[in-house]
Symmetry: C2
Subunit: 308 residues, 2 copies
């Protein structure tokens, strides 16, 4: 959460949780700026989808059900109402896909495109998933596959007009249903979304829980395009699946006792859910790779920085 001065505003969890009657209200905000996030020429519809999706992802990470979003658009003078309409259509499409609504917002003139959204959600007190709770011995899981955003990013670097890659990069699927299934299982000890890459998220989770991780690279689920595109760039695919952000899958820990049951629940709901390692007592994060134990590095590709 946040490039600059993140610690000054940081939340321990993906959302603020407000104690409200028998539930928690979940509230989160994410800002998207032209310079940090958007490849030049990004279609407005996809920008709108992305804005809503990254905010809903924080609700998903805590097991929440979305109640609605408001959005604030800082728009350069040169933007006409058709561009804004497309952006809003993408935003509405994403909200609607996840059974929620854009409730309103604000538009202001700004020097460069700056978009901000705020998502509200709810979760019952017994179901909320937090970042704190992982213990040594727990199994570590991720939903879906990793490396999709990295593949899109590097494809775009090669061919800046590749619209498919641009759309893939911006197309985040917030894991709302997955988050709800995990929360309802009652078997999760901690959860967060992987916005800045798996390695970076594991370091954050380790710090909060005063634990380390032993991750088996072979078990980390790669998205389809990862091997071919990383190969064509002469890069090891681990750069794509460990050290690159933008995938927004859920990183989950669960007690070893409940692990089989959790895997069964997720499989019943047709959710791709991969065990990738264990929580360990030592704060050191290790990567098992080709049978060898190496150090997992604490780095991630924090936003795409097209203009740097």
């Amino acid at each position: 959460m946040g490039d600059l001065h993140g610690d000054q505003l940081g939340l321990l969890d993906d959302c603020a949780a407000i104690d409200y009657k028998d539930e928690f209200l979940l509230m989160t905000t994410d800002m998207i700026t032209q310079s940090s996030h958007l490849p030049p020429g990004s279609p407005f519809w996809n920008i709108g989808w992305h804005l809503v999706a990254v905010n809903l992802s924080d609700i998903a990470a805590m097991g929440g059900e979305p109640l609605g979003l408001v959005i604030a658009l800082g728009l350069p003078d040169s933007y006409d109402s058709e561009m804004v309409e497309e952006l809003l259509q993408g935003a509405h499409a994403c909200a609607s896909r996840f059974d929620t609504f854009i409730l309103g917002g604000d538009t202001k003139e700004d020097a460069t495109l700056t978009l901000s959204a705020c998502a509200l959600g709810r979760v019952s007190k017994s179901e909320i998933m937090r970042r704190k709770g992982a213990n040594s011995g727990d199994f570590v899981y991720v939903t879906g596959c990793l490396g999709k955003a990295a593949s899109a990013f590097y494809s775009l670097k090669k061919n800046p007009d590749d619209m498919d890659s641009m759309e893939n990069l911006l197309h985040v699927e917030p894991r709302i249903a997955e988050g709800r299934a995990l929360a309802q299982s009652g078997l999760v000890t901690s959860c967060m979304d992987i916005s800045d890459g798996l390695a970076s998220s594991l370091f954050q989770l380790g710090e909060i829980n005063d634990v380390g991780f032993e991750i088996d690279l072979f078990r980390v689920p790669k998205c389809d395009s990862v091997e071919s595109i990383s190969g064509s760039m002469n890069m090891h695919y681990e750069e794509f699946v460990l050290y690159f952000g933008g995938d927004y899958e859920l990183l989950v820990t669960a007690k070893d006792k409940g692990a089989r049951e959790l895997e069964r629940v997720m499989s019943q709901q047709d959710i791709r859910f991969s065990q990738i390692g264990r929580v360990v007592e030592s704060r050191r994060n290790t990567l098992i790779k080709d049978g060898m134990s190496t150090s997992l590095e604490n780095r991630g590709y924090e936003h795409f920085r097209w203009n740097k």
Copy 2:
């Protein structure tokens, strides 16, 4: 709500109202951009206060009690953590003054300063105040006094280093207690905050309710500095109290039957509350000025546009 394309995102009310158990949750967002809102050299503490205050003002306008805010900061590279710390201190001070909290947020790098906040509030279903509800014959009221922001703005134009005026311009007091008192009275037919000036707000309220207004200029409460500063600028003071934004007082209508009782309730709570005119059936907005009936113009000073 919003300069550009406001209709595409506009809300009918100051906040979105989410039907939630026996209450409404209120959710609003307001964005502040360097070019539209902030005089050059604005102190960071005051910017932070302002950001929170304008969002809480929307909660106040619906009679709500704030539950918390999240804020998103788009910050230029040149900003150091001390500036951000001051900004956050101002934001926390405003939240705390109104018994609420900054729950967290997001920071991103941006070309120019762009700040966005989202406020969450709640109000019981029986107490919520909306913009729709005014009827011809109702009395029209405002809280507090008008023209403070205009006075500060024109003083600053004369003397750009006048820190008192800069602070006055940014120092908005969201009318939370006033909004709660109005809501609890059960005597209000419509309410909104006057962000863009009294005339502009009356036109919005007239459009929503298909009514007009007859406003007595003599009854419009002027803040202390208005006459001297408008005089020194060779401007009529009505420019300051009718056609200039930034005061964030509440504009209220109430049935004539309950008007005396409402005035008594507000007076008991030491709230300055002035009757300024009546709601009329015709869509025409008139201004009674020196005993003559003239036309109230549909214009406001929408944001300050320092860089234009």
